[in-house]
Symmetry: C2
């Protein structure tokens, strides 16, 4: 602790003066692998702590990589997104990266603005969790030597890294889960968001059901949320020929659906109604729900992202698909027999 308390940031210069050495010496003290004699080193360190000096990484980033990784994300409060951000930031930090979060709307325009920010701050890499950026901007990022990683987004986009889960598998499995449980009339609850992942789960579910000759009513009541799931239930059970088995394209939808089915229509799960979700958010395991669903291998996915970010030389334009794993709980009847 010392009296010398400047009202703006301390520079290496000041430390050098106080320690009676050159700025070079100061710099060397703080870059490992540089040669400084023990005495100077000590003098520098002492002056530094007295002054409260901290190396300016912004200035350092002027010459080398910035070590900044940008996470572009919408709907952060959604459990699945919160977990993605959590895991990703943890692992990236462990790899000495700094996390910059851009909380955006998922409209293309907002995502574009986010990417531009990314460029402004010379981020080493950008990870897009929501929305679909315009291809031209991705190219600009790549041209500037920045990595672009798209998670659960559209298809491969020129040179960007791409990872997603096997939505087709989920759609297919969901159908068979319900089919094997003996459900006769099926429902598909989806959102109006219309993202590629959701659409794919939907498409395959419908396709397989059609092939099996099972009729499916489709409902999209709003964005991906508990409220939309609720609303979907109200609409679907207001009709005659209500389904006895439903695939909700997301856990959040499933929980809203299940709750209003039980509390407003007095249906019993899984006796009267079987429900399958997707994401395996924590709430799905809660005793009020015990939702059968699919879990995304978030850890593996995050590991892959880190590898991509760390190794710029890694072959780009690759699409890597991860297998969601079915999580059996109690919202689907065990298959007869």
């Amino acid at each position: 602790m010392d009296a010398a308390k400047p009202k703006s940031f301390v520079s290496a210069q000041m430390v050098a003066e106080r320690a009676g050495v050159s700025r070079s010496a100061v710099s060397r003290t703080f870059t490992d692998g540089a040669s400084v004699s023990e005495p100077t080193r000590r003098k520098v360190l002492e002056a530094a702590t007295a002054l409260g000096y901290h190396v300016n990484h912004l200035a350092r980033g002027l010459r080398e990589r910035s070590n900044i990784v940008c996470l572009v994300v919408a709907d952060m409060t959604t459990p699945i997104r919160a977990r993605m951000v959590d895991i990703l930031s943890r692992k990236l930090q462990a790899a000495d990266k700094i996390i910059m979060v851009i909380n955006t709307e998922s409209q293309t325009e907002s995502v574009a603005a986010a990417l531009r920010q990314t460029l402004n701050y010379r981020a080493d890499a950008t990870v897009v969790l929501s929305g679909t950026p315009p291809a031209s901007l991705i190219e600009t990022c790549l041209a500037n030597g920045q990595q672009v990683v798209l998670i659960n987004r559209d298809d491969r986009l020129s040179g960007s890294h791409n990872l997603g889960v096997d939505n087709a598998m989920a759609g297919r499995e969901a159908f068979f889960l319900l089919h094997r449980a003996g459900c006769k009339r099926l429902g598909l609850v989806t959102s109006t968001a219309g993202t590629a992942s959701l659409l794919e789960r939907e498409r395959v579910f419908l396709e397989v059901a059609a092939k099996a000759g099972v009729e499916v009513s489709v409902i999209a009541a709003g964005p991906t949320s508990y409220a939309s799931g609720s609303e979907a239930a109200r609409r679907i059970f207001g009709r005659s020929r209500a389904p006895d088995g439903v695939f909700c394209v997301t856990d959040l939808l499933a929980m809203g659906f299940m709750d209003t089915a039980r509390f407003e229509f007095d249906l019993h799960v899984p006796e009267d109604l079987c429900i399958v979700g997707f994401d395996d958010i924590e709430e799905a395991a809660w005793q009020s729900y015990r939702l059968t669903t699919f879990s995304q291998p978030l850890d593996e996915m995050a590991d892959h992202v880190v590898a991509l970010v760390l190794d710029p030389g890694m072959a780009g334009a690759e699409r890597r698909i991860f297998e969601p794993v079915p999580v059996w709980r109690k919202s689907v009847r065990p298959s007869a027999g």
Copy 2:
């Protein structure tokens, strides 16, 4: 689109050369309020888009403020935390700030490391949502002209801005809610985290109960989570003289507690058991829970943080208390007429 695709970031220099002007002209084109003639402006803009130029904010931050605001947070996946980060980042972004997230453990040591990072990146301000940083480091931040904002942390810490909710009020109200509902034996479910906010709610609840001559059994089964709430219920209902009214210091605890009370001990809420929570997370409104709780005025709080961050001259060392608002739902019996 152009052939000139460098593999590293484009500088103003390059743009200047291509446009046939000086770098000053380029700089002026991108700082508003600077005077450039329309023709040069156009030439610059054209060259810039062709090259994919983006102003380097890192370099800009060398002279002025960095516009970076750092959020230090633990337990990001927790609904209340996720919402805080979401709201805060939204509002700060709207004020042209860039959000840097440091996902940390809440141990003092990790928080300290986070603050040092904050310094390294010349953040204009640091907002601490979890853990308690050492006072000496806060001083260093302040000395370096950085704002420090502590949310729901300990008391005022030398010069840092401080905001929190009125936990005493919540503890008191929680008691009266249960008391008026006619509960005879009370329970207090808390976490082993032992943060200042939790402790305060706890303390006042016990104090008021003691004054009213009502006995309270206290249980802390683990960290602040659904699982801990569950475990608390198992322990408390394993005993004789189980409570018929419980204050859970957090919604997450409340939901775990409620679920195992109902599903494992066949208790009915609110007939056999009244429950009060705190936070008003989204899940509290779900039909399976309808939890009576207190909501933190997150919007107001975030607005205040933004004001603090934007106006460095604002009187420091102030503690601002926000009033949580009681949210009546169905987990507490209406008080007997």
